[in-house]
Amino acid sequence: MVALLAKELEWIDVQYWFSIFNDWSLVYVILPFFVFELIRYTVLKRMTMDLIKDSIANAITFVAFVSIEYILGILAVTKLYFWVHEHVSLPHLPLNWITIICCILLADFAYYWDHRMMHRIGIGWATHAVHHSSPHFNMSVAYRFGPMDAIFPILFSIPIVMLGFDPILVLLSEVFVQVFQTLLHTEVIKKFPKPIEYIFNTPSHHRVHHGSNRQYWDKNYAGMLIIWDRMLGTFEPEVEEVRYGIDKPVDSTNPITIFLHGLQRLVKQMKKTEGIGNKLKLLIKPPGWEPK
């Protein structure tokens, strides 16, 4: 068994396996599932103009997010990863199943901390609040991104490269976690059997994360494994029915308003706050912080 897991693999095969989940799942799960959700809304008489406009706005924020990622230069970022890999890394790991599994788990753990940080510092919340601002919960919400959502994960994946993992494997693992996370944005699946709900992040756990009910704030940050939340004290089960969104709703389906509302609110808060030190503190203090 260990010998099998430690057997050296071919890059071309590994990239192929990742593409089946990372790229093609959009065609064989996500889109069909979204269509099913739309039918369900219609049957339940919950299909509204607001929901349609909200879904379109989600898709537009995604396009904006991807464009920013390109402008930032995927190449510049990958080059940084390669530089770190060559110059400040532990011995490079061989490409085998053990390396792949551990890399995905590390990417998942990095996702947890990245996500927790985005909720707990002002500048992080300014961009991540966009994702939470929808009053709905379906597959399209997974694509609702803020303007700086591509930047923060870099801080957390570089250390994984430093541990000796190949930069491309790290990138593929991050996308893997992100795609898994995408699949959780649904009301269709209620709860999985107990052992699954205990170990994995599920739609139920992630609904809690999107809840504006007070007890659900800043809970269930997980990507794939909910055990990180259980271990680090941020787990909350779904009991009360979830009201989706943020405490001060955006009340808009205009994609530009949605995309920039977090930053706009942060800038407004900074203008209002006295003293340069306090203004800067707003960037790193938890959202809602005010000087004494």
Binding site: E10, L75, L93, I98, L163
Partner: protein, 170 residues
Amino acid sequence: MSNTKLFFISIGIIALLAGVPHITANLSYANTTEIVETPKEKIISEVTEAEPFEEEETINESPFLGKWRASFNYDGTMGYMIVRITSKKGKMVGHIIAYEDDLGNSEGAKDLVLQFKKEKKSGWSAIYTTEYENETYQIPCTVKLLSPSQLQLSYDYYGFSDIETWTKEK
């Protein structure tokens, strides 16, 4: 939960997830270096498995085999590289055997540049070894024949993308 506790739990998780692949990598490395003598029967069976006669034959006829000329642009210097594709143990590989500049000056070399992996409908999938700003990259690519004297190599790899056409040398 206190910050110190969060810190130590996190360090523990990271140490475990990074430690396991490093330890197994070291163990399997130690295993392969310890076994110096491979039983003779095993070598024979491996050799016959790797080079079945018929397969060698078909590869010998492969139109990819031979010398190819590819142009390159290195820091603004235009030139050519001559690549020889051969088959070793049933696997096709390409080595750069010489570089030539526009003026006809040439320089010998012996660098591995192309490893053929699998034949697909669209051509062969292969690994292209190339250098960019002093870093070596191993890029998955597709190689196909456009004609008996023209070979096309294409790749799209995290921002590097190109289609190269190589021509056969007599």
